[in-house]
Each structure stands twice: as structure tokens, then as C-alpha cells.
């Protein structure tokens, strides 16, 4: 079985008040769940029935969040929220992290190759 997709919208049944749509939106976007719920209530009060239909359609159509996705680390949850919001920016972030690693590793390499006493002793022993 393939791993669950992390760029899809799911109903978050574990943090649900009623059917998990608001909790799912909060999990998908990273917005605080209370803000989403207040927004939904406001939309229902202002929106003459259409938001209720959208809510029911989402509750009926969207799949439940797979159990594997509940077990991921908080920083991974944040990472995938970033991917869903803007995949391009996340890709650039990952690339910049690799560049940072490259730079730090270059520092280590410079130190080890230029001034490691043990290395020069080894070379001395070979002579």
C-alpha cells in the first residue's frame, strides 16, 4: 500500500467538534481551529444557507484523515502545511537548508584539512 497523500484535505475526526470539517481545515492550513470555527459560524449566519450546504458536502465527500498522519512530528505537520500553502517556497527552503549544510561542512573540512595535528602526525609517521 502506498503512503497516504499529505497534500489532500481530510476530515480530522480526532479533533472534531461535530464532523471534523473545521478541524480538517485548521489542520490543512495551519490556522487555529477556534478561528476557523468562529469563521464558519459567521459565514453560516451571514451566508443564507450556502455555507451550510458547503459544510455538509465537505463532511460527506472528504475522506477521513489516515491514522499514519496523526503520528507525524509537529515540525513535519508544519512543514506539510507549508507545502500545501506554497510548494515552490518550501522547495526553495529545502534547497537553502542543503546549502547551509554545505557551507557548515565546508568549514569543518577546512579546519580538518588545514590544521589537524593528528593528520599531520599520521603523515609524519608515513615518512
Amino acid at each position: 500500500m502506498s503512503p497516504p497523500r499529505r497534500t489532500k484535505f481530510y476530515l480530522d475526526k480526532h479533533n472534531a467538534k461535530w464532523s471534523g470539517v473545521c478541524a480538517g481545515i485548521a489542520d490543512y492550513t495551519g490556522i487555529d481551529v477556534t478561528v476557523v470555527r468562529i469563521g464558519t459560524v459567521a459565514a453560516v449566519l451571514l451566508g443564507s444557507g450556502t455555507p451550510i450546504l458547503i459544510y455538509l458536502a465537505a463532511a460527506w465527500l472528504a475522506p477521513r484523515k489516515p491514522i499514519e498522519l496523526y503520528e507525524q512530528r509537529p515540525e513535519d505537520t508544519k512543514f506539510w502545511q507549508g507545502v500545501r500553502a506554497n510548494p515552490k517556497r518550501t522547495t526553495r527552503d529545502v534547497r537553502s537548508r542543503f546549502r547551509e549544510l554545505d557551507r557548515r561542512l565546508a568549514d569543518v573540512e577546512t579546519y580538518v584539512t588545514s590544521s589537524n595535528g593528528r593528520l599531520s602526525r599520521e603523515i609524519e609517521n608515513l615518512r
Binding site: 489532500k8 507545502v83 602526525r121
Partner: protein
Amino acid sequence: MGSEIIVIPAIFIALPWIIFHYITQWKRAGSLTSEDENLLDELHELSRRLDDRLCTIERIMTAENPNWRSVACDPASIGIADESVRRIG
């Protein structure tokens, strides 16, 4: 009468406009294929592991020589490099 001129277009034009705007945005975000997603996941995980390893290495080097960073920037200024060069030479 006057308020209907604002409210009706707001519901029948602005609301669907906003909804479809976000639907197209979601579709664009959803254009990330399954392979892209796995690749990104792997790279994210790999960068995290490399970061951990490099932190360990940097900690060990700091324990051995607290100012190794300045040595790496300018080996000659500390004198260690000169010494080792002399020994080799």
C-alpha cells in the same frame, strides 16, 4: 431598495468569485504529484538527518578545540597550521 444593489451582486458574483479563486489555488497546490511529494518528504528527512549529524560533528570539534571556527576561517592566524606545515616540511 438601495441596499439590494450592493447585497445581490455581493452574493451572486463576489462569493462565487472568491470560492472559485480558492478552488483554483487548491488545484495548483494539488498539482504536486505523488512522486514529487515522496521526493520532497525524503529530502526534508535527509536534510534533518544531515543537520543532526553535522551538529554532532561540530559539538565534538568544539570540545576538542573551542575556537576551531576561527581556525577554519584563517589557519595561519592561530599558529597551529604553521606548526603542522613545518613538521611536514
